[in-house]
């Protein structure tokens, strides 16, 4: 099917809003974050990882699985520059983007901002965000504003913005301030405007062979594991470590339902 209108779906790992990604609709392109690749059930046309090299080579963070994947991946992946060990790496045109959007604020505090800006330079007509929410208690809180800013830029340039119902970007809180934000009898703020209880960041749990979440180790063993994984990268011949996830204490026994890019 020939694409007549450029439709780009930006994909993250927020599981609730990733469910509605149009994987089976060939009219969409899919751009995703490479660290969330385990969550994607369909093709990805471009990956992005704009972190410095030290992020993906640091022992213990991702084990050897991610560098190995980068070495074998054939889908274009936008990075800060080309790397010999990442054959599919494409240098992200940071200079061109900053120049082209010189009339906007250089408010790039997350991957989505860079992805939206690139899509705008390529004439995107429809932008969808799936699996992107920036709502958990982590650096995502600090990054949310930039995501909404660039969605506003896109919308202002006539781009149709598609957000799934489960995504809270651009609609939280929903009641119109002043008109609908306060209780008509008491005059007090409605719950939607009260300080939000932010969910703690939940670690990513990629798809696995069973739907049962992994058991969680006792705290003192968790510390052993974290130290050992940092000091001893898992050899390739060892059973995979990339899927191993330790949940925060308050998430133990709960399947991940929230997160972000």
């Amino acid at each position: 099917m020939a694409r007549t209108v450029r439709k780009v779906a930006l994909c993250g790992s927020h599981s609730l809003s990733l469910m509605d990604a149009p994987w089976d609709d060939p009219s969409w392109e899919f751009w995703g974050h490479s660290s969330a690749r385990g969550f994607y059930r369909g093709r990805i046309d471009r990956y992005f990882d704009l972190h410095p090299k030290s992020c993906w080579t640091r022992a213990g963070k991702l084990s050897a699985a991610y560098p190995n994947w980068l070495a074998k991946n054939t889908v274009p992946i936008y990075m800060q520059k080309r790397f010999d060990e990442v054959p599919a790496a494409v240098e992200y045109p940071k200079g061109r983007i900053l120049t082209e959007f010189g009339d906007c604020r250089p408010y790039f505090t997350n991957h989505v901002a860079w992805m939206i800006a690139l899509a705008l330079t390529e004439g995107v007509a429809t932008l969808g965000l799936f699996g992107i929410n920036y709502s958990s208690e982590s650096e995502y809180q600090r990054q949310r504003g930039s995501a909404e800013y660039w969605l506003g830029i896109a919308s202002g340039r006539g781009v149709r913005v598609v957000l799934p119902e489960q995504c809270t970007l651009l609609r939280d809180p929903a009641p119109l301030y002043g008109y609908d934000s306060h209780d008509e009898v008491t005059g007090l703020l409605k719950a939607e405007y009260k300080p939000r209880i932010v969910k703690p960041e939940a670690k990513k749990v990629p798809a696995y062979e069973a739907n049962v979440p992994l058991a969680q180790p006792p705290e003192h063993i968790r510390r052993f594991i974290e130290r050992e994984e940092a000091e001893n990268p898992r050899p390739e011949w060892a059973m995979p470590g990339a899927s191993i996830v330790l949940l925060p204490d308050d998430q133990i026994g709960i399947q991940r339902t929230d997160g972000g890019v």
Partner: protein, 265 residues
């Protein structure tokens, strides 16, 4: 429960996805109507044997039973069996697990991963020696998931078997979560701050593991099993039906592995 292994042979040539006749190391145990199955890290494909044109060659229908044709390297293992044979293996290995078995396919062969309802994870292995529940075993690195009690000389992924078994049987080995492991004896056994090593001596039956305090641990830290952590003090335990030859402790498994022993390699 432990299940007797199926016959196997190996590819004598590389297999392309569309090949329907190829060479195998032996056709001795193969007959028309049986299924040849590729499993383990090579992927999963079932092929129905249509013909044995000459000794050492088979003609097949590819991608049976919901599997897809795979390309496979020369030397890849092929499991041999009738549908009833594979069903027998399936019934046997599923009888060895608790919790929610989930949806399993028809071909449950070494390398199969399973997670129980409590979030513990297991892998099906083919034994090459006698074990008891709690024996630490080393997995082969050839993708066939054969397993034998640990020694201090090998390296590779490690698991703790959860059932009795002997050579040429399939059993489950736990690789993640809480379990009870058995150890050969020691004069001063470890507490929960200790480490686990491959055993340097073999008991009968072998249990593969040696628990030590960190000060007892060898200066060659490659002997320490990574991803296996003591979570209780070590106590005397029965390693067979008739003899108390070893010790036991609770351990936490985190996909353990034993690095190459730099002292012996």
């Amino acid at each position: 429960m432990a299940v007797n292994v199926l016959n196997t042979t190996t590819l004598s040539e590389a297999l392309s996805k569309d090949a329907i006749e190829f060479a195998v190391a032996s056709t001795t145990n193969i007959s028309v109507g049986q299924y040849l199955v590729i499993s383990g890290t090579a992927g999963l494909e079932a092929m129905k044997v249509q013909a044995i044109p000459v000794s050492g060659r088979v003609g097949v229908i590819r991608g049976q039973g919901g599997t897809r044709a795979l390309a496979a390297a020369n030397g890849t293992r092929l499991y041999i069996g009738s549908p009833a044979d594979y069903q027998g293996v399936k019934d046997g290995v599923l009888a060895g697990v608790n919790g929610n078995p989930g949806n399993f396919g028809d071909y449950l062969l070494p390398g199969l991963r399973y997670r129980d309802g409590a979030g513990n994870e297991y892998v099906l292995v083919e034994l090459t020696a006698t074990v008891v529940p709690g024996t630490g075993v080393l997995f082969s690195k050839d993708g066939n998931f054969t397993a034998a009690p640990l020694t201090s000389a090998g390296f590779g992924s490690v698991g703790v078997v959860i059932e009795d078994g002997t050579s040429d049987q399939y059993v489950w080995a736990q690789v993640y979560g809480a379990c009870r492991a058995k150890f050969v004896g020691g004069s001063s056994l470890a507490t929960s701050t200790g480490v686990v090593q491959g055993a340097s001596s073999v008991s009968t039956p072998a249990v593969g593991l040696l628990a030590q305090t960190t000060s007892q641990a060898s200066s060659n830290d490659a002997l320490i099993i990574l991803g296996m952590y003591l979570s209780s003090a070590v106590t005397t335990a029965t390693t067979s039906a008739t003899s108390e030859t070893g010790f036991a402790a609770n351990v936490w498994l985190h996909y353990p592995f034993l690095r190459r022993n730099t002292a012996t390699s």
